[in-house]
């Protein structure tokens, strides 16, 4: 029993240490973020941020679009099979539109970005740590947070919400295709119904979630990379850990945000 308590205590302290490190890193990155901004910052950091935006956003676009299309079809078909029995097939439009705007767009994007870019951040920074590149940056009078983390975080803050919008659009479009083939509802009319179903607060909620997910993915990936000690095997472990932890934290954050928005929406 004492042993169990000891393990639980040690694990709790370790998790608290992790969350604390994440917060310290977030604060340091926010302070160093000015350098990555266009016009007021350092043009080299901004260029690095744009490069990262292309990698996180543009490169992930086909994958996210395809995932969203498939999920849109699935959601529409599953919804239709139940709603048809009550003669409420037209509610599939609300289901897909609201579901993708509020929930599936940001969540699917976060999972895709976590797998692609979160792991890439951890691997890149982990390798830089192992090969002493991070130490080299410090002795060359650079701030690694400003040099490495800030462009990545800024890029994630821009790319993830944009990808979420794209994911929502493709998911909703897939729902439209389903409605067209199953009920011959014209796509133009379908999108008109979609616009009446979505409210501004749904879009705002989705953007808030996306920014939070981007923060989690970027910082978990970077922290895992910076914590690498040892050789290439440690880089591999950090990459896996980055994906597992960021996906878990994204889902926890999603649950918290959805609960908050649910109660705020009721009042």
């Amino acid at each position: 029993m004492a042993n169990l308590l000891e393990i639980a205590g040690r694990e709790t302290l370790s998790q608290l240490d992790y969350v604390g490190s994440l917060n310290i890193q977030l604060w340091a990155t926010l302070r160093g973020m000015r350098a990555a901004l266009p016009l007021v910052g350092n043009r080299h950091r901004w260029r690095a941020a744009v490069h990262q935006m292309l990698e996180i956003g543009v490169d992930a676009l086909p994958m996210v679009a395809l995932m969203a299309m498939c999920s849109g079809f699935i959601l529409a078909m599953q919804g239709a099979s139940e709603l048809r029995r009550f003669g409420a097939l037209h509610y599939v439009i609300d289901l897909v539109a609201v579901g993708f705007t509020r929930e599936l767009g940001p969540l699917l994007t976060a999972i895709a970005v976590s797998g692609r870019s979160g792991s890439a951040f951890a691997a890149e920074i982990g390798t830089m740590t192992v090969t002493e590149e991070i130490a080299a940056l410090k002795v060359m009078a650079f701030e690694p947070v400003e040099f490495v983390l800030a462009p990545k975080y800024l890029a994630a803050l821009v790319a993830v919400p944009c990808l979420s919008i794209v994911a929502a659009l493709f998911g909703i479009f897939a729902g439209g295709l389903f409605m067209f083939f199953s009920t011959h509802l014209g796509l133009l009319l379908y999108f008109r119904y979609v616009l009446t179903s979505i409210e501004l607060r749904d879009v705002v909620a989705a953007m808030i979630k996306s920014l939070a997910f981007a923060t989690i993915i970027a910082h978990v990936g970077c922290l895992e990379g910076l914590r690498v000690r040892g050789g290439p095997d440690a880089v591999g472990r950090s990459t896996t850990s980055a994906v597992v932890r960021s996906t878990f934290l994204v889902i926890v954050a999603d649950a918290i945000f959805t609960t908050i928005f649910y109660f705020v929406g009721k009042t």
């Binding site: 390798t127 090969t131 080299a136």
Partner: protein
């Protein structure tokens, strides 16, 4: 007055004392070699001098500034006068050789791009890599990487050059070429160099002064002749390459015999 001064330096990792009350003065314009076996604390002392780690107690001053108490801004300014070539070279793999050398010039100076290009070419020419500027680090041999790291360390014309194990892992010819390069840099630029190594021929070729470390303490500091004449048993053991724990064949044989017997005795 010494350019680097280490006073009563104590460093501990998880309660284990790695450097124990170390005192060392490095004179300007000289090549000081930190000599010692594996685990003697050479690299730890180097990381302390570079301000990458904080000591438990004691102080390190570079050009009269205590690096453990000075502000981050002062430390950054100080770091621009110290060029470092790491053991692993720590070149940025995503950048070409030219860009690696140009990085500090682009970021820390307001020089025109054409001037930076010229300086980069000069630095690469000094280390014999003028024709390889467009290559990336992964396309270079071990010796070329080490020379490229020296070129990068020289970019801002530092007063102090720190080289961590410059000849480790290199064949004798390339190692000798690097020794000549270090001597050339000292004679041409009157640079102060701190070289960490455990290669005896290299140390005795380049050193003006040798500081010998053992178990986190300085055993001897002096000129090459003074070190050669030193009668401390550990210094003699190191210089004469006497094994510390020779393999005792009869003892090993009896141990193996006992092990085999115990395995056979088990049911």
């Amino acid at each position: 007055m010494s350019i680097i001064s280490v006073r009563d330096l104590v460093v501990e990792y998880d309660g284990r004392r790695v450097l124990d009350g170390l005192n060392l003065d490095i004179e300007p314009g000289q090549i000081t070699v930190l000599l010692g076996g594996s685990g003697s604390g050479k690299s730890t002392l180097l990381r302390q001098i570079l301000g990458l780690e904080h000591p438990k107690s004691g102080s390190i001053s570079i050009k009269g500034t205590d690096i453990s108490t000075c502000s981050q801004a002062d430390l950054k300014i100080l770091r621009r006068s110290v060029g470092v070539a790491f053991q692993s070279a720590a070149l940025f793999n995503s950048l070409s050789l030219e860009d690696n050398v140009a990085l500090t010039l682009r970021e820390h100076t307001a020089l025109a791009p054409s001037v930076i290009d010229l300086i980069v070419w000069l630095k690469l020419a000094v280390v014999g890599l003028a024709d390889f500027g467009k290559l990336h680090p992964q396309e270079l041999s071990g010796g070329m990487k080490k020379r490229a790291a020296v070129a990068r360390a020289l970019a801002l014309d530092p007063e102090i050059l720190v080289l961590d194990e410059p000849s480790a892992g290199l064949d004798p010819i390339v190692a000798a070429e690097l020794d000549e390069l270090i001597l050339f840099l000292k004679e041409t630029f009157q640079i102060t160099a701190l070289v960490v190594t455990h290669e005896l021929p290299s140390a005795f070729r380049i050193a003006d002064r040798i500081a010998m470390l053992f178990d986190g303490r300085l055993l001897a500091v002096g000129t090459k002749d003074e070190i050669r004449a030193n009668q401390h048993p550990r210094v003699r053991q190191f210089l004469n390459r006497v094994p510390a724990n020779p393999v005792h064949t009869p003892a090993l044989a009896s141990y193996l015999e006992r092990y085999v017997q115990s395995q056979e005795a088990e049911p």
